[in-house]
């Protein structure tokens, strides 16, 4: 990222006009993507995005961590109900502080109603809270997470609020301690 500001007009290269980089040339991401046929790389809105199937997620993530992505910035889920199949997509943001590179992993979850994928907390313990949030909000099961409980909602909450089929409003009582709670 820091190299993009460097003036390279001395060389007279035709690079500036072509913003799309060829991924195998990329010093960090290239080796990760090159060997694996199942991994699809895109460059959308100026950002590097890699689609990884669930089966090769752990392998890819392990390689990514070894390649220098030491910080997992974010993990979230998108519910594409009625927009595309399969319904749930897990989005992981990895950051390499060392190389100044950011990559986003998109993982489509095949099972519509009981989505599950392996937990990445063994690689990045910082994803612990994020996976709990994703479980709480979307009901996605992270296999191998040491402490997969609800984090924002109360223990006895019904359903997963950020799913598209969970309605807005219509919650009768906010506080379960209230004697009028239904």
């Amino acid at each position: 990222m820091s190299d993009e500001n460097a003036p390279d007009d001395e060389q007279g290269e035709v690079e500036p006009a072509a913003p799309v980089r060829s991924i195998p040339d990329h010093p960090v991401l290239g080796p990760l993507v090159e060997g694996d046929e199942s991994v699809v790389w895109e460059h959308t809105f100026g950002q590097d995005v890699v689609q990884v199937p669930v089966e090769s997620l752990v392998g890819f993530a392990t390689a990514a961590k070894e390649a220098g992505f030491e910080l997992a910035a974010d993990l979230t889920v998108v519910d594409y109900l009625g927009v595309q199949e399969p319904r749930f997509r897990v989005v992981v943001n990895l950051l390499s502080v060392r190389h100044g590179v950011r990559v986003r992993l998109l993982v489509d979850l095949p099972d519509g109603d009981a989505p599950a994928l392996p937990s990445l907390t063994a690689l990045w313990p910082g994803l612990g809270f994020y996976e709990r949030e994703a479980y709480d909000m979307f009901g996605v099961d992270f296999e191998g997470h040491p402490d997969l409980t609800r984090i924002l909602m109360p223990d006895d909450w019904d359903g997963h609020p950020l799913r598209k089929d969970f309605g807005v409003g219509g919650v009768p009582v906010q506080f379960k301690a209230s004697p009028k709670a239904t």
């Binding site: 910080l71 974010d74 990045w124 402490d147």
Partner: protein
């Protein structure tokens, strides 16, 4: 008769039919037995800390997942250990943070943060609001740094739209976010001082912040939750005489910082409380997704303003503050130095403020100026369309991260081509930073734990969203 709260007059129609009974437990006098329903008010057995835990959960709560720096004595008998709640209603928890701590006497053995008491479903709300209305929602997340929330959301929207922002709008955005960084750090110093017993610091910090908030109010109309930075630019130009206001702030702040230094920097009590307190290493911080001043206090100069500049901030000259030891004292120093660096940025922005538009010249995204509506039919139509159905954003997804006072603040937007986002997710820095709490607090005295917690500077609105 009248000795009951919630008497029948206050009950709604459907409840007056007798389906829901109000009981005598509605009123609870001190000294009487605590009613049963109140006991369960904060009872979340699955999320709480237990006496017996699995190995992995134990390691999390001891804060030894990455680095085993736990030097506790031999495990003492069960009758010596006690699990206690700190919070959710205590000022030194900076909001409604609840900590389950296992105490052995006055030593903290294990810690587990329990959150969600301020959860209001803002990510769900965002799906029902248009991109135009989005900033009103996100500005309420990190209420100490509202401009940063708005900026992250606006940048993500603009990334999807491909809109070019005029230079003056970018400069105003930098000006406001850096002033906001100063005001946020001032609160952190003020409340941090209060937690350690430096009560004067609390007054000084809030006094200086007031000057900045007065400028925010003059510019945006509000002291907090401004909804000022919007997709396409900013809501209004800077007010008349803003140069003098900025000059006044910049004249006053350095003196105030000297005053803080006189009070705290070499203060033996302050140093005694903070030096070597709540130490965290770079490896631990990276592994636990911790960013911002906490990561920098460990000696790693990672700042998104340098690593991935946004909104033209790379045009200004400033340095990244780093610490050495990753203790609470370094975190305090990093915040003070960041205030100084932000003052430098604000001065440069004020000196080089470009002239011109403060919002993009795109009638499909930015509402027309009020004057144009009287003159032009098209302007009226655009105004009406933008404010009723909003503007459509091309299909796609984008993640934009900026450096908020607490670390990496990211906004992940997914659009299906309509005027509302399909999904809006905020990567809240405080949420991830809370994972540092067990690392810092375990194996220290309870009073030190409060000092370390204050140096984490969590904002619970940001944590729970």
């Amino acid at each position: 008769m009248s000795d009951r709260i919630g008497s029948d007059e206050m009950v709604g129609d459907d409840e007056a039919e007798g389906k829901v009974e109000t009981t005598e437990q509605d009123l609870w006098f001190s000294g009487t037995e605590e009613p049963e329903w109140l006991v369960g008010a904060t009872h979340e057995p699955a999320q709480e800390m237990h006496k017996e835990e699995t190995d992995e959960r134990l390691r999390q709560q001891l804060g030894i997942v990455v680095d085993d720096d736990y030097v506790g004595d031999e495990i003492v008998g069960d009758d010596e250990l006690m699990i206690v709640n700190l919070g959710p209603q205590h000022p030194s928890t900076h909001g409604v943070l609840r900590l389950n701590v296992e105490l052995e006497g006055e030593i903290v053995r294990r810690v587990k943060p329990i959150i969600g008491y301020l959860h209001t479903g803002m990510e769900k709300t965002a799906e029902t609001l248009t991109f135009m209305q989005g900033p009103t929602n996100v500005t309420r997340m990190d209420y100490l740094a509202p401009f940063h929330n708005e900026l992250a959301f606006s940048l993500a929207t603009e990334q999807l739209l491909g809109t070019e922002i005029p230079p003056r709008a970018e400069a105003i955005r930098v000006l406001m976010t850096e002033l906001n960084r100063i005001s946020s750090h001032l609160v952190a110093l003020a409340t941090g001082g209060m937690d350690v017993g430096a009560l004067s610091m609390m007054l000084y910090g809030f006094r200086e912040r007031e000057v900045i908030l007065a400028f925010f109010e003059k510019t945006t109309g509000l002291r907090m939750n401004h909804n000022y930075i919007r997709p396409g630019g900013v809501a209004a130009d800077l007010p008349d005489g803003w140069e003098d206001d900025i000059e006044g702030i910049l004249d006053q702040l350095p003196g105030a910082l000297d005053e803080f230094d006189d009070l705290l920097k070499e203060n033996p009590i302050w140093k005694g409380r903070l030096v070597d307190n709540g130490i965290i290493t770079t490896e631990e911080a990276l592994a636990h997704s911790i960013t911002g001043p906490i990561l920098r206090s460990t000696g790693l100069a990672h700042d998104l303003r340098k690593a991935a500049p946004y909104s033209g901030i790379d045009r200004y000259d400033f340095d990244v503050a780093v610490g050495e030891n990753g203790d609470s004292y370094d975190r305090y120093r990093v915040k003070v130095i960041e205030i100084q660096e932000s003052i430098k940025i604000v001065r440069q922005v004020a000196d080089t403020m470009p002239r011109g538009d403060w919002k993009a010249d795109d009638r499909k995204i930015v509402p027309p100026p009020r004057k144009r509506i009287d003159e032009s039919m098209e302007a009226l139509i655009h105004h009406f369309k933008i404010h009723t159905e909003g503007f459509k954003v091309p299909e796609g997804e984008a993640y934009v991260a900026i450096e908020s006072p607490r670390g990496e603040l990211g906004c992940y937007l997914v659009s299906d081509g309509g005027p509302n986002p399909l999904r809006m997710h905020t990567r809240a820095p405080s949420f991830a930073n809370l994972q540092a709490v067990p690392l810092m607090l375990s194996d220290s005295m309870l009073a030190d734990a409060i000092a370390a917690l204050a140096s984490v500077d969590p904002v619970l609105g940001d944590v729970d969203r």
